[in-house]
């Protein structure tokens, strides 16, 4: 199965729960305490019927009131002990299950952050989110509540069964025999329940994706007046979720009823069998009362088993879903034994026969790209829309790995460098300026938290982003989604400032000036030239003005570099290049 495909068939095994063990291990002391307290509490619970039987057979049978008090004292002791043990169990359970949930969620987040961009391309963010929230809380509730009861109730059943056998074995054996059909039928429905819960969970993820898109794309929705359409889509998914939930409800109801019917029928059987035994003298009336009292202790544990097993199934499929993310291969990682290599500032960047195909795509986007950027050189990358420029730039910081050929920095394959080093020597300004919800300063110093004020000021100057000083709190103004909104050009200049901060060895700029007006663009270009003089830079360009920043221009077409030279050389000698860049003036004639 493709590692990055969200839709996965349910595996439907309780064994998926075993995944939780490594996370539970650090808290095994607390877990043991939880189980211990739960078992003891159950035993304390058993004391009451036993004391009752003793009261019936002892003081009542003998009419001895003085014998009553010690027995009542005992019962009270057990009653208080039960409550105290409940408290201990809940306390220990809360600690362990909440810590387990926290650890698991941290691990998931950390893992997801390190999964390659290619993974994130394919996964709907809602699926990720629903796994980090809904599935996590399912797991937490299971660990903190159901798991204990599952074990305790099973143990209770066994213990009580043993006691029943000890009290009067023929009837005990009969009770044991009734569990066989219960188990068989129960297992069938449990399996069905597992499949159904998996469907529900996946649908919840789908729904979350829809919510997220509807909220994040609210401008598009509003500007086209399509809230009706978006609602219909959401509604279709929500309605489907409801019908999947209802399937689950029906199966759960069946299970529940099965486990509710069983003890009641068994009780009738016990009454009949026990009465016969009493009439034949094999059992005393007190014995029968004790037998029945013991069995009623089982009513709730048996009844709850149906639900608890169902919960276990649901948790197993939640574990599967989380496991799918934890198991997704980290394809972009440090090679074993990768050691920092010497990378000069500026560095030499070479693409050697680079091939790249997106996962699942038949045709490669890049099919043998050869390009050599000498240290300190600036090369403009020009190509038609969708020709693969962004893809090529993403290969340098290894957001994707090449599928053939190699990219080298000062002769070292980028895959042989530790990721941390690689990404600290390469800085990128993406075509969509991503800013995070933090202060302007933090946004700028994202890759270089140690940057000094003068470096920040310098970067702001290069990007002509002095407007930040006029923000309400200057550089400390919080921007991004949770902060102040900026205009498109303001965002782009901050993203540029972020990339040039600290003068990286290799600078990758993807269409960095597209949102700037001509005036600002000219100012930025002038300032940027100083930076470009000292670093190796690959600049994706759509406009002639940007191309002029570069020493040489490379034309990307058909997945290869088809021409390299200065702007004027290419303009003169390469018709394809002329088509791409020089027709601004011709256009004027066309449209006039």
């Amino acid at each position: 199965m493709d590692d990055a495909t969200p839709a996965t068939a349910p595996r439907g095994k309780l064994s998926a729960l075993a995944r939780l063990w490594p996370f539970a291990r650090p808290y095994r002391g607390l877990v043991t305490l939880t189980f211990g307290a739960a078992l003891l509490a159950t035993l304390a619970q058993l004391a009451l019927p036993l004391v009752t039987a003793a009261v019936v057979d002892g003081p009542i049978a003998e009419g001895d009131r003085s014998g009553l008090l010690p027995l009542l004292g005992l019962a009270l002791l057990f009653g208080v002990a039960e409550a105290a043990l409940f408290f201990v169990r809940r306390w220990a359970m809360n600690r362990s299950c909440l810590q387990l949930e926290r650890d698991l969620r941290d691990t998931l987040y950390q893992r997801l952050q390190r999964l390659p961009v290619g993974f994130h391309d394919r996964w709907g963010s809602g699926q990720l989110l629903s796994r980090a929230t809904t599935d996590m809380s399912t797991i937490r509730r299971f660990v903190g509540f159901a798991a204990v009861f599952l074990v305790v109730n099973l143990v209770t059943c066994v213990v009580v069964l043993v006691l029943l056998l000890a009290t009067y074995w023929p009837l005990g054996v009969a009770v044991a025999a009734t569990t066989v059909p219960l188990t068989l039928l129960g297992m069938r429905w449990e399996r069905r329940y597992n499949t159904e819960s998996r469907r529900v969970q996946d649908q919840q993820g789908e729904l979350t994706t829809d919510v997220e898109e509807a909220v994040q794309g609210i401008r598009v929705v509003k500007s086209l007046g399509r809230s009706g359409l978006v609602f219909d889509r959401y509604d279709a998914k929500a309605t489907r979720l409801r019908s999947l939930e209802l399937d689950k409800v029906r199966t759960l109801a069946l299970l529940w009823c099965l486990f509710e019917l069983h003890p009641q029928l068994t009780l009738a059987m016990i009454l009949v069998g026990g009465s016969l035994a009493v009439s034949s003298g094999a059992l005393t009336v007190g014995g029968l009362v004790a037998f029945i009292a013991l069995f009623t202790v089982l009513l709730w544990p048996i009844l709850s088993l149906g639900f608890l097993f169902a919960f276990a199934q649901e948790t197993a499929s939640a574990c599967d879903r989380v496991g799918e993310l934890l198991d997704a291969p980290l394809t972009v990682t440090d090679r074993p034994g990768a050691t920092p290599a010497v990378v000069g500032t500026p560095a030499r960047l070479r693409f050697e026969g680079v091939r790249f195909a997106y996962p699942g795509a038949a045709e490669p986007v890049l099919d043998g790209v050869d390009l050599d950027l000498r240290p300190g050189e600036t090369v403009a990358l020009v190509g038609a829309t969708g020709s693969g420029k962004t893809t090529l730039t993403a290969l340098v910081p290894r957001l994707y790995d090449v599928t053939g050929g190699r990219v080298t920095l000062d002769g070292t394959d980028v895959r042989d460098l530790p990721l941390a080093q690689l990404r600290s020597v390469v800085a990128t300004a993406f075509e969509d300026a991503t800013l995070f919800s933090m202060s302007v300063r933090e946004n700028l110093a994202l890759g270089r938290p140690d940057a000094g004020d003068d470096e920040v000021a310098e970067a702001l100057r290069v990007a002509q982003a002095q407007f930040v000083h006029e923000l309400p709190w200057g550089l400390d103004t919080r921007i991004g989604e949770q902060g102040l909104s900026l205009s498109g050009g303001q965002r782009q200049r901050l993203a540029l400032a972020r990339a040039v901060l600290g003068r990286p060895s290799v600078l990758v700029l993807d269409d960095p000036l597209s949102a700037l007006d001509v005036h600002t663009e000219a100012l930025v270009e002038r300032a940027l030239r100083e930076v470009l003089a000292e670093t190796t830079a690959l600049v994706v360009a759509h406009r002639a003005s940007t191309v002029l920043l570069a020493d040489r221009v490379a034309l990307l077409a058909g997945g290869r570099i088809t021409a390299v030279g200065t702007h004027s050389e290419l303009l003169a000698g390469v018709p394809a290049y002329r088509d791409l860049l020089a027709q601004d003036s011709e256009l004027t004639e066309v449209t006039r």
Partner: protein, 606 residues
């Protein structure tokens, strides 16, 4: 009361750490109102469910009673008179009761499940629709992550209450009530002893309620914070990885996660005290009943069988009380979630649809901005803007970044209402138009070309959902997107993935352009809609515009002056003011700012 209520209205209280007692009560009442609202349509079902449960409980309760009869009557009959009939009757009755009980339970579970799901669906629909209606200013302030958390994790908190809580509450309350009655009937003296536990239970429940409200409120907030951080990280994962933000994010997330753990810990601690307290009360009462009962049996005032069944019932009396406690816990948690949801629902759409709209079935496209002032915050971005665009005119808007061009465009598309002044379309103020008329007449292509996951065809058809495949393709052809789409492996049916990530930036712009083209509005607002296109693609788009815009009003924001040249009129903006206004030729020939811009641009072409 109105002044404080106003400051607690909507989502205003969300960031307040410590709530005053008044605000707490206000929020609590508000969330219960929402719950009542949601349950109102299901009153009949609720009654039906209660009835089912009543009968079911009687059947379920028959068990112990029958066992008691069995021991007191059937066993002696069998032992002393070898008469098996009483035993057969009793056992038969037990089986019958069990079957009735089970059948009714099935009915109850499925019906209540259906009701719960209906409530959730209604809530989802209601919140979703409302969120869609809320203005952009709300979304910008509230952030998408928080909205997502409201629509997911908060709704699920209610789901928990509905699928587990309602069931256990009703069953438990019924058991408690009916068993209470049975106990009183069986033996009023012992019954009175059992009821003595109630005052103690009440005290414990009050204590729990007082503390858990705040505790659960906090958990809803911490989980929302987690979701916000999560969506933001993975929305910008490229930047996160390229700038090695992972370790710092790990720390931030771990801190939020720990906050969340603490918040839950506090809430769970309260239950850890509450539930054992209920158990303790139950056990003490049981021991008291056993003692007093046995005392009386010895004195001959009570039959052994009666005592035994009394004790059996007592067990069934207190076990469900723990369920009630658990329900109470789920209820508190759901109330906290509903509090947040009702807050969002209470937010007023500040850019509302008029209740009596002026119909405008076919707009001509004359735009007037009459003394329009606007600012996002206290700072005014557009001061007193006046502008008239006759129907059919193509206006280009240029100027430095941050000058307020996008802001003006957003006002024309009524993303916001001006602080003062009016925007009019064909003489009708925008706020007097129905949403359908307005959106049919005015369409804006925004700076960020957001695509939805789904196929390319779906995305283009977003502009006009009823469009046929041919029309979709025609729109794509007209703006020159057909070529690349046809080259994709599945053509128009290619899934573009989350936010259109499967496409290049330019391709995304083409698709969103095609989307607007297909919508075919009277007024088209383009906010840097071609900034990521290569020159030939841009030229194709311009050709399309040239035909499209022939009889349409258009407001084009662009930095590349090539785009401007299709315009009839150019406006130069600076700090929210229009500083130049004229035809491109006039302005180019003049000595103003635009002439300067144009010269600079012409030089840049080389």
């Amino acid at each position: 009361m109105s002044a404080p209520a106003e400051s607690w209205r909507g989502v205003a209280t969300e960031d307040t750490e410590e709530l005053s007692a008044g605000a707490g009560v206000f929020l609590w009442a508000r969330s219960r109102r929402l719950l009542r609202d949601l349950l109102r349509p299901h009153r009949r079902t609720l009654w039906l469910l209660l009835l089912t449960l009543l009968v079911q409980n009687v059947a379920w309760l028959a068990g112990p009673l029958l066992v008691g009869i069995g021991i007191d009557v059937a066993v002696p009959a069998l032992v002393e008179r070898s008469d098996a009939w009483p035993l057969v009757w009793v056992a038969g009755a037990m089986v019958a009761a069990a079957l009735v009980d089970t059948a009714l339970r099935y009915v109850f579970l499925t019906r209540s499940g259906r009701m719960g799901q209906a409530v959730l669906l209604a809530l989802r629909r209601r919140v979703f629709t409302h969120v869609q209606r809320l203005p952009l200013s709300f979304h910008e302030k509230y952030t998408s992550g928080k909205t997502v958390s409201r629509l997911t994790s908060d709704v699920e908190a209610l789901a928990e209450l509905l699928d587990e809580g309602l069931d256990s509450l009703v069953t438990a309350l019924f058991s408690v009530l009916t068993i209470g009655v049975v106990l009183m009937v069986l033996d009023p003296g012992l019954g009175a002893v059992a009821l003595l536990g109630f005052p103690a239970l009440f005290v414990v429940a009050r204590w729990f309620q007082r503390h858990s409200t705040a505790a659960y409120r906090r958990t809803r907030e911490t989980i929302a914070a987690l979701i916000v951080q999560f969506t933001e990280t993975f929305g910008g994962i490229r930047a996160v990885q390229a700038f090695r933000r992972e370790p710092r994010n790990d720390e931030l997330y771990a801190a939020l996660n720990e906050d969340n753990r603490r918040a839950h810990h506090r809430a769970f601690w309260l239950i850890a005290v509450f539930i054992p307290a209920v158990t303790l009360i139950g056990n003490v009462v049981t021991v008291a009943v056993l003692g007093i009962g046995a005392w009386r049996v010895i004195g001959g005032g009570l039959a052994v069988g009666t005592l035994v069944s009394f004790l059996l019932y007592l067990r069934r009396f207190f076990d469900p009380l723990q369920d009630v406690a658990m329900f109470y816990n789920a209820y508190q948690s759901a109330t906290a979630a509903l509090e947040k949801l009702s807050g969002v629902l209470e937010e007023r759409p500040t850019v509302p649809e008029p209740s009596d709209p002026v119909p405008l079935p076919r707009a001509r496209g004359e735009l007037v901005l009459d003394g329009v002032s606007f600012g996002y915050t206290d700072r005014t971005v557009l001061p007193e803007l006046r502008l008239t665009v006759p129907a059919g005119q193509t206006v280009a808007l240029v100027g430095a970044t941050g000058a307020g061009k996008s802001t003006l465009a957003r006002l024309v598309a009524r993303f916001y209402d001006p602080v003062s002044g009016e925007v009019r379309l064909d003489g009708v103020p925008l706020h007097r138009l129905s949403d359908a008329d307005l959106r049919r007449a005015v369409v804006m292509v925004t700076q960020e070309s957001f695509l939805f996951s789904g196929t390319i065809a779906d995305n283009i058809a977003f502009g006009r959902p009823e469009a046929t495949r041919e029309e979709v393709e025609a729109a794509a052809r007209a703006i020159g997107a057909h070529g690349f789409i046809a080259a994709l492996p599945e053509g128009y049916d290619t899934d573009v993935h989350r936010r259109g990530g499967r496409l290049s930036a330019g391709q995304r712009q083409l698709v969103s352009f095609a989307r607007a083209f297909l919508a075919d509005p009277a007024v088209l607002v383009l906010d840097e809609a071609t900034s990521s296109l290569d020159v030939p693609s841009e030229r194709l788009v311009q050709r399309a515009l040239h035909t499209l815009l022939a009889d349409r009003t258009a407001l084009i924001i662009a930095h590349r002056l090539s785009t401007v040249e299709v315009a009839d009129r150019v406006l130069v903006m600076e700090s929210g003011r229009i500083v130049e206004d004229g035809t491109p030729a006039d302005l180019v020939g003049g000595t103003g700012r635009f002439a300067g811009l144009h010269r600079a641009w012409a030089d840049s072409l080389v």
